[in-house]
Symmetry: C2
Subunit: 340 residues, 2 copies
């Protein structure tokens, strides 16, 4: 099998996690390009020295600072130019998510697919807004579009559905898709903190952003529910089709009352398909403690698949992290390498 040429668009936390994994695992790929809006850009068909580049980036240096490029190297290209000139085999899209427009990631993915490159992305924007169209473009160009990192970081969701439930019909998926809100609810129940204190602690620990709206109002989980609906259930819905309620109105009294009745609040993202119609929602739900999702504490994520042949199967694992999300890109690359 020939060495595959990898192009990285975006080289923040996820990209650096990916570089560390490639360095550790030495798969049969050659990194030929990195383009990052803040850190600069390098296209070197002869290959980029990964440990050397990691040394630069780890010391807050830039891609531009790399001084071991070959005489074939080009610097200063933007992302689209990098993709078009790269002659690469696989493009990894790891720029920051813009959930309103899906840009610039969607344009990067389109450009790569049109060039006949396989694509893997951890970016929720294109996956939530344009999955169906992008998948068709991939198919028309005879390449693969994988999105493992968009939901539950590297915990397998899409690879699981594609490879492990092959030939089985998935009728519903429902789960804990946002670690921040799960952490807050766990702390309210276990420590008796009120919502504001639990949120403050989540912010101190770096789970929640200074503006926690996307997490606590459910918008992050909403984007993931749309992705699951379209990618796993074969729907074609938009974010505005999904009723969304966060945990910001859940009080300590609600949590305690549920606990007294042997129940536990979880923010669930759910989607099901019946007669070709998708019904999806994000909302706080009181679960019986015997529900596999009820036991999922802290910042962990979990998802239950309902299938026609296996009944319910639940997978629980990390939902975030530099290496965990870097691995989501890596496992998609491995799938491309292993099944060509």
């Amino acid at each position: 099998m020939n060495e595959k040429k990898l192009v990285m668009i975006g080289c923040g936390t996820v990209g650096q996690g990916l570089l560390e994994i490639i360095e550790d695992k030495t798969p049969n790929i050659k990194l030929i390009a990195i383009s990052d809006k803040l850190k600069g850009s390098l296209l070197d068909p002869k290959g980029i020295d990964i440990p050397y580049m990691l040394g630069i980036l780890d010391n807050d240096g830039k891609v531009d600072d790399y001084d071991k490029a070959s005489d074939k190297a080009i610097t200063g290209l933007d992302a689209i130019e990098t993709i078009k000139k790269s002659n690469g085999d696989i493009m990894a899209e790891m720029t920051y998510t813009d959930i309103e427009t899906g840009e610039p990631a969607t344009s990067h993915i389109k450009a790569a697919l049109k060039q006949g490159m396989h694509v893997t992305t951890s970016n929720k924007g294109p996956a939530a807004l344009y999955y169906t169209k992008l998948q068709k473009l991939a198919s028309d160009n005879g390449v693969k579009l994988f999105i493992e990192g968009t939901v539950m970081s590297g915990t397998p969701i899409f690879n699981l559905a594609r490879e492990c439930f092959a030939g089985s019909k998935i009728t519903e998926v429902s789960g804990i898709l946002n670690g921040t809100t799960n952490y807050i609810l766990s702390k309210m129940e276990n420590e008796g903190w009120d919502y504001k204190d639990a949120l403050k602690k989540a912010q101190e620990l770096g789970y929640a952003e200074a503006d926690p709206t996307a997490d606590v109002e459910g918008h992050d989980a909403l984007a993931k529910v749309v992705i699951l609906s379209n990618c796993i259930l074969g729907g074609n819905i938009k974010p505005e089709d999904v009723p969304c309620e966060g945990i910001n109105n859940i009080t300590l009294e609600d949590v305690n009352e549920a606990a007294e009745n042997g129940m536990r609040y979880k923010l669930l993202g759910s989607t099901k398909i019946e007669e070709d119609k998708i019904t999806a929602s994000v909302k706080p739900v009181k679960l019986e403690l015997s529900n596999p999702l009820a036991g999922v504490g802290g910042a962990t994520n979990a998802l239950t698949f309902k299938t026609d042949l296996l009944g319910e199967v639940t997978i629980q694992g990390p939902g975030a992290g530099k290496i965990e999300t870097g691995y989501s890109i890596f496992v998609d690359i491995m799938s491309i390498l292993n099944h060509e």
Copy 2:
């Protein structure tokens, strides 16, 4: 892609579950042979009419009773003859497990691999006793040997490890691998039944055999731990290498005392690899309630994978059942079809 020719060896509950799934899902395969020690044998290169055969078997008829065979059909062959004369592409081994000898399943699998056929099996005997040798034979013949049905029926374990953790190192697997003992322990804790009453109920429900030794003394879980050690961790251990303790000495007092301390007894099968050395065991373990395996109740199974890149990932699902185990064979067939 050409239609693949399927040979079924063993046509009991699992085999009939598989036939129902094939009938429902119409994958690109042609069933050309069934050989069952009790129900007779048919090899028809022109293909066997599955709904018609299912109609016969559902009415307690035999494979021999099929009266729509073509003029090319041969009846009365034993399993090995069927495999050798079949010119099939995939052999599904679904005879009853003999965990002492692994026979006759091991001979069936060897014969098929030597004929250049892919093999999938739900039979724990060959997988527990001869996995390493059989996998080498498969590799030497350029074909695949898959064993999804040997642990947790169709809940993905081996497909998960192969496809979804590709490129990641799995260092430990630990789980609830026997539904009968988990049911008994759940009933002792939840209903306050003593061990004997819980066992009796499990027997009434058909979870436990009249002779429950294999379940309650841990031998069933032991076979699965050996399979996980050799197939997933790359070990080469034997059943006698694994210390094995069942639940037959666990009293209601033990269970209650654990519960008072916020703990729960589970029969855990565990195996880990450190510096190329496998350490495995089957024994009752008191788990903290926050452990993902502690919440697994009734006859459900679950397994936690420890990996270098993702940390811990737990999967929970059915561990038995006609359709569920039939699906384990089906998903292996789908993997062979999808990745040729």
